[in-house]
């Protein structure tokens, strides 16, 4: 499984959404599931999937699906 597939899988599983929903329009609070609780579940899922520990600043900056890809580069996860 590629990193992109893993990344997508975390979003799909956490938010129980269809793969078609993934994209630049998917941002924090753009869907009911991505609230503050969903956000921490997403972070936990990404940390577990990629075996990383994200800084609090990055968790706050993680504002959307596309932005998340940029942030993960800091942790040597290339999407």
């Amino acid at each position: 499984m590629t990193n992109l597939e893993k990344y997508n899988s975390v979003f799909i599983t956490t938010f129980e959404i269809d793969g078609n929903a993934l994209g630049e329009d998917l941002v924090y609070q753009s869907i009911p599931q991505w609230d503050s609780v969903g956000h921490m579940a997403l972070m936990a899922g990404l940390e577990e999937t990629f075996d990383i520990m994200m800084d609090t600043d990055d968790i706050i900056d993680f504002s959307g699906y596309e932005k998340g890809k940029e942030i993960l580069v800091k942790y040597d996860v290339m999407i």
Binding site: A41, M43, A44, M53
Partner: protein, 246 residues
């Protein structure tokens, strides 16, 4: 009581931390034993605990003044791939200085160790707990945070901050299955209180109904209760364990 649980305990080298580590192992918990430095005696003790009680005791070393080291410690815990059920924040420091004599540097260092680092560490560890939707955090504060204590402005203020944080964390994390409580020990037989001037010790003990110094194991017993499922309906509390002071 704690069989099958995994706990992260800071300040395990001595005092209340060491007593808590020992009790948790005895009660069947696996423990990530966190402390600043290692020693041959400590490592041997961990091995003995592990053998005696058939539990995993994993040492994790980091300095609470070093943010990168804290993060590295958390990564070690994360990489062990064990569910974390309990966090006990015990590590702390104390600088005795009267209000007009305490320097800003002393104040900042005390808050760095007793508050900021503990919040950071708790943020990381509770993120691990969120995955399982269950957990218990126990913050060790002090009666000086509740009552004040002459010569302990920095210490009591930092421990007071932990109490405020405990209450907010309890409200935010409660719906996610994580309980957060604080305990406020009185005069306990540790190296920290060994240096108390005789006059201060007498003043404190004279206010105690039980009229003696508490033992680390007595505090550990309360921590074990808060860590266990016996306290499943307890959160956001500050529990005094002080022999009746105040």
């Amino acid at each position: 009581m704690l069989s099958g649980k995994t706990a992260v305990i800071t300040g395990c080298l001595q005092g209340i931390g060491r007593a808590t580590l020992d009790l948790f192992a005895e009660k069947g918990a696996n423990v990530f034993a966190c402390c600043q430095t290692s020693s041959a005696d400590f490592v041997q003790h961990l091995e003995e605990l592990s053998r005696k009680y058939n539990v995993k005791i994993i040492p994790v070393y980091f300095d609470l003044l070093d943010e990168a080291a804290i993060k590295q410690g958390v990564k070690e815990i994360q990489q062990a791939k064990m569910h974390v059920d309990v966090l006990v924040n015990i590590a702390g420091t104390n600088i005795d200085a009267l209000f007009h004599m305490v320097t800003m540097e002393q104040l900042r260092k005390t808050f760095e160790i007793n508050f900021f680092s503990q919040i950071l560490f708790t943020q990381y560890i509770t993120r691990l707990m969120l995955k399982q939707g269950k957990g218990s955090v126990i913050n060790v504060s002090s009666i000086s945070a509740l009552d004040g204590n002459i010569g302990q402005l920095a210490y009591s203020a930092s421990k007071g901050a932990i109490i405020s944080a405990t209450k907010t964390m309890a409200q935010e994390l409660g719906p996610k299955g994580i309980r957060v409580n604080a305990i406020a020990p009185g005069v306990i037989q540790t190296t920290m209180t060994a240096n108390l001037p005789a006059e201060a010790m007498h003043r404190l003990l004279s206010r105690s109904d039980i009229n003696r110094v508490g033992l680390p194991i007595e505090v550990a017993n309360l921590i074990a209760y808060l860590a266990s499922d016996m306290s499943n309906f307890v959160t956001g509390q500050v529990i005094r364990i002080d022999g009746g002071i105040g």
